[in-house]
Symmetry: C4
Subunit: 222 residues, 4 copies
Amino acid sequence: MAETPGGTDETNRLEALNDGVFAIAITLLALDLRVPQLAGTAPAPQLLGALAQQWPSYLAYVLSFVTILVMWLNHHALFRLIRRTDHALTLLNGLLLLVVTAIPFGTKLLAEYLLEDQRRAAQGVYATLQLLLALSFNAMLWYAVRHGGLFGSAVDRDTVRAMVRQYRFGPLLCAVAVGLAFISAEASLGLCIVLSIFFALPSAQARQLFGRARAGGGGRLN
Amino acid sequence: MAETPGGTDETNRLEALNDGVFAIAITLLALDLRVPQLAGTAPAPQLLGALAQQWPSYLAYVLSFVTILVMWLNHHALFRLIRRTDHALTLLNGLLLLVVTAIPFGTKLLAEYLLEDQRRAAQGVYATLQLLLALSFNAMLWYAVRHGGLFGSAVDRDTVRAMVRQYRFGPLLCAVAVGLAFISAEASLGLCIVLSIFFALPSAQARQLFGRARAGGGGRLN
Amino acid sequence: MAETPGGTDETNRLEALNDGVFAIAITLLALDLRVPQLAGTAPAPQLLGALAQQWPSYLAYVLSFVTILVMWLNHHALFRLIRRTDHALTLLNGLLLLVVTAIPFGTKLLAEYLLEDQRRAAQGVYATLQLLLALSFNAMLWYAVRHGGLFGSAVDRDTVRAMVRQYRFGPLLCAVAVGLAFISAEASLGLCIVLSIFFALPSAQARQLFGRARAGGGGRLN
Amino acid sequence: MAETPGGTDETNRLEALNDGVFAIAITLLALDLRVPQLAGTAPAPQLLGALAQQWPSYLAYVLSFVTILVMWLNHHALFRLIRRTDHALTLLNGLLLLVVTAIPFGTKLLAEYLLEDQRRAAQGVYATLQLLLALSFNAMLWYAVRHGGLFGSAVDRDTVRAMVRQYRFGPLLCAVAVGLAFISAEASLGLCIVLSIFFALPSAQARQLFGRARAGGGGRLN
């Protein structure tokens, strides 16, 4: 069999399970958008007001949606290179799925407490889930790189190295977000939003942005 | 590899994620059909009466079911032509999925308030979701047309042009439905129902209906 | 392309959507198994008692599980023969999915009211959903037979005819179950259970059973 | 058609249904992680305390996650060998899915009552579900072995025999867990945790562990 990009018989069902879990987790996020309960005597425009007041739910929903979608993209990109799985990779993949299925819970928690006094605790838990997500993906990536036989023989080593480089800073930046949550829920959440936008961009543009920021920062220092 | 209609390795997993999200969203709609809670002493026929009184739930459920199914059909038709994806198309597709997962929320809102004073607000939100759905699908379609390399080389340009023409009026008509909601929830909902039937018909019959309506309108003007 | 049994590019995504909807509907059934809420001071064995008292929920759950699984098997058997889809078949398939997604609602209704005075109404609704399921599957089957081009050229006409014969009585028997519900919820539910066992058996054994029953009935008459 | 590892047309849709059910059941587990409801005036660290107090929910969630993931792995391993299905295998597979869909219910029950007086009853039900899961998987495996034609002709009989040996003790050990629940919920739950770790390990390492334990036990006896 020629090595074509895409799944092999060996990886196909693992990808099917993953696609299922990602699809369900991303769809369940919207289950927590609640319909406001108004008295029948409430004036008509009050419904729009009540809906608008739920903005923390929408924010948490969109942020988690982007997070899961980006993780699906990363997973997809990784499995376009991986041709074989072994038991350890399957377990690491299971760990990733465990974190993915916990994201809707973290989202609900954040939405519930974003405007309350406990918002730093809620955002701390949310950022921790993001950190665990980044760590478990990097664990899969690192394991696959250490066991090069999992990649097809035709895989371009540069592509793999670029991928490792791209994701390297994810866990670090998420750890910063966790730490920030102790000081300010808003700053921590803001960092999570910036990170999700950054990782949603194509890697070339993201690299450019990142490079520009570094160049800009360097400029200020000189 | 010869270019056969249907997915390529490159588009297969994107389609798998989409099929999963569409399947879950369409099935979750029915989660909001509620079992009436009657007292044990209630006479027997009262259950049927209580079920019948929930008709706004059934109406919203069937309407959203058809909406999501038709969007799946459109998506399916588009991806029979598309052979390659790029990052932007994947993000546009993610935007479409974001709207699809929000449809059950809009459905619940509409079912809850269809008989209440706030029904124009509820229908306005529902029609807005329909508008966003139409816009995000058109965005994907337009992007794919502008980047012709995403289509297979064997794709018939006329098929693509017919598709663009067919969906062109979707956003406009949905925008009218949003506007109508300010005046009458019933008229706006009626337009949404007509649109979903229209788009559920095969395009040839739909074109004929549309053509006939236009011819008829023209006849009246002359 | 040689005609092999199994999906074609044209039917694959429709089957994927179907598999998704069937899988979700069958899994959601268990969401309505409720954890009994006992006071902390309740004696230990009371939990088992409270669980046992929920038997209508388990019965409805298993019955609906078998119903959806059998319908998946039927659908699977049909699509092993069908090689092409057209718009009308897709719409008929959508109708089937609409009924499948409503089954969890009917199951919840039946479980809630099976021991109440309103049980005949609840079982009547449940049997009606079974009838609609049988009707929509037969509609797909009949449409496919009338438009023979949808089957592959290698399809054995006898196989198709046997399938039509096998499902022919489904709607009739379900209609009887609907009628029986007006008289006795237990008799109607019993018929639904017998039907689901009958259709779960392989068709050869089912035919034999059916033949034996007919022969036996004939024997009594002579 | 050459016999390659992985699904055939005949088994592909069955695997698709299974992957869907496993993916949904594993994702639904997290739906029961509840967001604590605190008064607005509660001091900030109280949220973390309330989250920590929910540890039975997290324990039950992770345990059931591993259970379902391991069963998916087993199922996947079995269907890499099976080339054909028949009606009985499909029904046995349906029985397995019925148990899988009931796992979230058992998980909820365990989480709710793990710290209450009724914990032995809750753990007894949970261990019984694990037993039914092990039994239904062994039933599939045994049936496939008895009807060797279901395996591809290229299947290595030693692989099949090793699989049968590996799973042979599952039902027995789960039955012990059910029995233990009458005496001590903690001991029974502990055994379930050990079993899930044992079956999550690759079979070679698991065999080694098992062998070592047996050798160690033997050593103590001499």
